[in-house]
Symmetry: C2
Subunit: 648 residues, 2 copies
């Protein structure tokens, strides 16, 4: 066991005043939707990902005692090879595995993690520096190019892995290795004379440092995170200086603008979400962490502005984000192409990190609503139903050219979706000294500390297929505190009762959370009913790709039409404005799901001449259609798919 004074942790003190996420190991999904997905993540995804790391030769980069193998993946125009940041994949995999380990011990997985940790430890330099690429291949280049080479990004992911592994097992070997690496970074970077005033262009370590601080309570760790956030975007740019030191012209930067890394202006002045989507979400997550930990209203305000910009102008209906492959990120506002959507799985996962953090600051459901959207749609679509095939890009339309893959030349997404799923419990419940918040609805049992109280909570529901939720409390003794339940933004008709007695929702609800403060007793029961009709969604008129089109949503689940269900390309279908669309639970569909059924009109090609174009409209003929949850697409026969259906 750890000798670290866990009882004296800053995180422990902090928990009384602010919402703290449930320990994912203390939230058990006991059936239904998430039980199936999280079990697969634990039983299939985590072990098969280690296998891929082996098969694909990733782990060889840790063989510090052997000469490095020739590069398989070439150096990109940015100056980066994927292999530069393989360490990040180990970090994320260890993190994902650790969340699973804590509730489901697995000696084999633990031995594999220990193996990676020992290799990392063996390679760590005397001054604490730790990055397998630079140590083995280009030691002279370390810390010479924060703009392109992801050194701290990789260390950040190792650090997150180390914290998670420590929390899961109590073993502190990895944590100590990473604390030494952080000490080295503290010695190297900062505003003090003699230090480099740099910061990594790929944000990540900021999040990791806050996590570390919550474990160690060492103020230097929080301070370093704050330094990186505050320094970002200061002009003249560190990246310009650094490029000149390398003898390069800063103007030759391949991405042309530091907005690519959210480093074009100080973070508090940024008002538009720009650049690489994952970087942006990681930065904003760290900003939310610091806003919370340091009570900095300027960071909260910046996050609020950026969030408004995102949800009002740049977010896919699925919760995906970052439309363009060229910068893996944002372009102009309202640019939301469907078939060429990049919408990287990692970006949706990272939006989850950000929105989750934001929601805790003042319990605001506009953030949790988006968290829920991406969980059921744009992030979950990144992993197959079998738990071992992936999408990097999450398009909203396909002609069948998009298929899930077992691995990727840049495999950042698989471990990201894995760590989201294996830690999912923390997103469902959070608590502070006098309040328990229920953010998401899912069949589950949870053990929670609400201040000094120990509360056991049982949630029974078929959500997201059905909007009826029953919560039952187990308490040692009656106690006054509040329970806040999110009333989803998609819901236009909700009913809430406690022990059969109706609660006045309008009076009880603020910022999307219904707050019930009372003396709770053992066996108390809360019932929540969320009416779940089929919604037709319309996009803002400036989003031209969706003009004249409709997306179907029921509850938090966005739907799509797949060719295999309708026998024609969904692109040929049109949905009449008034046509009824009915939900039906299909137990045979990929583990069971509610599908939507109705009649559409199909544009027929019959009678079409040799020419692609003619002067008369195609005839429209009725055709039954079925829509399935978007997250389930591309799990059956290849074929066309569409989220935004043309309205007739």
């Amino acid at each position: 066991m750890s000798s670290l004074p866990r009882s004296a942790l800053a995180g422990g003190e902090r928990s009384s005043a602010r919402f703290v996420p449930a320990d994912p190991a203390k939230v058990a999904f006991t059936g239904g939707f998430w039980e199936s997905w999280t079990r697969t993540a634990r039983e299939v995804t985590v072990p098969t990902q280690y296998k891929r790391l082996q098969e694909e030769g990733f782990l060889e980069v840790l063989d510090f005692d052997k000469p490095p193998a020739p590069l398989v993946r070439p150096i990109q125009p940015s100056g980066l090879s994927m292999q530069h940041f393989f360490d990040s994949d180990f970090g994320k995999w260890i993190e994902a595995a650790s969340y699973a380990l804590k509730s489901h011990p697995d000696a084999e997985i633990e031995a594999k993690i220990d193996g990676i940790v020992e290799k990392l430890a063996s390679g760590q330099m005397a001054d604490g520096y730790l990055n397998s690429w630079f140590i083995r291949r280009e030691p002279e280049k370390r810390w010479t190019n924060l703009r392109d080479l992801h050194e701290m990004y990789s260390m950040g992911h190792l650090l997150e892995g180390a914290v998670a592994y420590f929390e899961a097992t109590g073993k502190r070997r990895f944590l100590d290795v990473m604390i030494r690496a952080v000490d080295h970074i503290i010695d190297t970077f900062g505003t003090e004379p003699g230090k480099l005033r740099g910061y990594d262009a790929h944000e990540e370590i900021e999040i990791a440092l806050v996590k570390l601080w919550r474990v160690t309570g060492d103020p230097r760790h929080l301070k370093l995170a704050a330094y990186f956030v505050d320094e970002r975007g200061r002009m003249p740019s560190y990246y310009d200086e650094e490029a000149r030191r390398r003898g390069e012209d800063p103007a030759a930067y391949v991405y042309q603008t530091y907005a690519y890394s959210q480093a074009h202006q100080p973070v508090r002045e940024q008002t538009r979400v720009e650049g690489h989507a994952v970087r942006a979400m990681y930065l904003f997550s760290a900003m939310a962490d610091l806003a919370c930990e340091t009570n900095d209203p300027t960071l909260k305000e910046a996050c609020d502005r950026l969030f408004d910009n995102l949800v009002g102008r740049q977010l896919y209906v699925t919760g995906g984000l970052g439309p363009s492959a060229s910068n893996e990120g944002f372009t102009r506002e309202f640019d939301l192409p469907n078939e060429t959507a990049y919408a990287e799985t990692c970006a949706a996962v990272a939006l989850g990190f950000w929105t989750h953090r934001m929601a805790q600051i003042d319990l605001d459901a506009r953030f949790t609503d988006r968290l829920e959207t991406l969980l059921y749609n744009g992030a979950l679509s990144g992993i197959s139903r079998d738990g071992e095939h992936y999408f990097y890009e999450n398009v909203l339309e396909s002609h069948g050219q998009h298929r899930r893959w077992t691995w990727h030349y840049c495999p950042c997404c698989p471990t990201n979706i894995a760590r989201l799923l294996t830690s999912l419990g923390q997103y469902v419940y959070t608590a502070k000294d006098d309040e328990l918040a229920v953010h998401l609805y899912a069949e589950s049992s949870a053990e929670l500390d609400v201040g000094a109280r120990f509360v056991r909570l049982r949630q029974e529901t078929r959500y997201p297929w059905d909007g009826d939720i029953r919560l039952r409390l187990t308490l040692a003794e009656a106690s006054r505190f509040a329970i806040s339940l999110r009333i989803p933004g998609w819901c236009r008709e909700a009913r809430l009762s406690v022990n059969g007695e109706a609660v006045d929702l309008a009076a009880a609800t603020a910022k999307g959370y219904a707050r019930i403060e009372r003396s709770w007793a053992n066996g108390d029961e809360i019932r929540l009913h969320l009416a779940m009709p089929v919604d037709r969604l319309y996009a803002h008129p400036a989003a031209g790709e969706d003009a004249g089109r409709v997306a179907l949503r029921r509850g938090p689940v966005v739907y799509c039409v797949e060719e295999t269900d309708v026998g024609t390309e969904p692109q040929r279908l049109r949905l009449s404005a008034g046509a009824p669309v009915e939900p039906r639970f299909d137990a045979d569909l990929l583990g069971g799901a509610v599908v939507l059924e109705g009649e559409a009109l199909e544009a027929a090609a019959s009678g079409w001449g040799l020419d692609l174009y003619r002067t008369s409209r195609p005839a429209l003929t009725p055709r039954p259609f079925r829509a399935i949850p978007y997250h389930l697409w591309a799990n059956r026969e290849p074929g066309a798919m569409q989220v935004w259906l043309l309205e007739a």
Copy 2:
């Protein structure tokens, strides 16, 4: 003057039996649409392109007496630098300039061409090899990589330039240089023992060789063209062998499939237009040439099949083609994205070469119809109204991000559109011994040899703004022959008369040409009326990007809506099914053009919340709109543009 026996040319013999294009120097556009465009091409485009070649350092590659300058443009993943094929730019510029020179002598331009020719001649190797890149930089690599390095492509363009310059001036210096280069190719490639059985992956030299043959009458020149076409796609692939000789794995080919170069199967077996669009069009043009010159029905049949595939499944409504930037070419059938359309100017120009050749074989207007489409739309859009700004990609939709440029890192398009415009007369009229064909309508005067007869033709029309055409003949003496006039495929109501007497069009017309055979006398007058209503075009239902949308066309001209004319993004507009759209000539629009006007509905964003999506439709409010000819777009203020308008 040339000492080549021009009277003994094969081309001379050939002209009696087959349609031969008018000498562009003998067709004068005397006013109206093409007078303006072709004069600008001659007076602005040709001279400014030479200036660009100078300013951008292209001409320096011909300084064989100096060491080569460091590369500015990097070697691409394909192994190719743009500089590899700068020779092609000189060739195309000389060709474009030569067509203009013949009718409009210009000593300054001629001196510039002579300067380039002398430099080329000075660099030519003793064995005839001529390619500035390989001679100066990588002589050891010559003929080692026909798959990637464009050696014959570059020589082909030089050869076309040499033929055009010889025909314009009678000077044979350049032609002789290139004949020596061709001799070297004949010595090097072919089926004979000891020769390489290779062919260039970028087709082009095949076209040039046929042109050369028409000038020299040397059967080896036609035979070499036929060899390259016949050899293409033979398995096992020459490119595989060649890669192995270089010590490379053929499977590592960056484009993955030889369909990229139409070399995946023998040309006569190809049924789908695939790969790089310009390559495909150059190949098919050469196939049409050979089908015509060698009376090879198998080549004609292959071309017919490929043409059906193109116009039925892969051609933009503008005549643009090749939707994807990644292979500069074709993807799946019916993949016609509008905003990301690649639709390279060169590809549309080259489709012009192909369709023009096909139309002459048996006077079939389905080819000429497409030629006309690209001339007024998808090719002409590649050059600005001022004649010195260009588009490489011709998108059918924009949010204002697409602007014309003065030069391009790969400047193949400017000289291609230039050579099309300076030689435009040849596309208007062709003739054989007993027949004169009028393919296009344009205010013009022409001097034509119809067999032994000399015919002067005066065409008066405001086409394409108006469908009334008057043709008057000047003949030394009355003579019996046929005049065939194309009745455009877009026209649903035509009237034809000779000296005021109606011609029964249904009886006279075959394959889209109305043929009037009679004894023609001096002063005879033909009148043709082509009704020109505004057409609404609909795309085949499989072209999902255009589903529910309409394109406006009047006569041969396709229209678009630009933001500057409607004060809103055209993506917000919807056109009601029955709404009237009226043509009006606007003399102030970029030299004068017919615009289309009417009332559309605008999707309003007022009342929209913070979220991009909502459950109610946007309100639609009436808004006047104006559409302009697509070829005129992006000549005024930047802004959004759309060809395919949503139908309400």
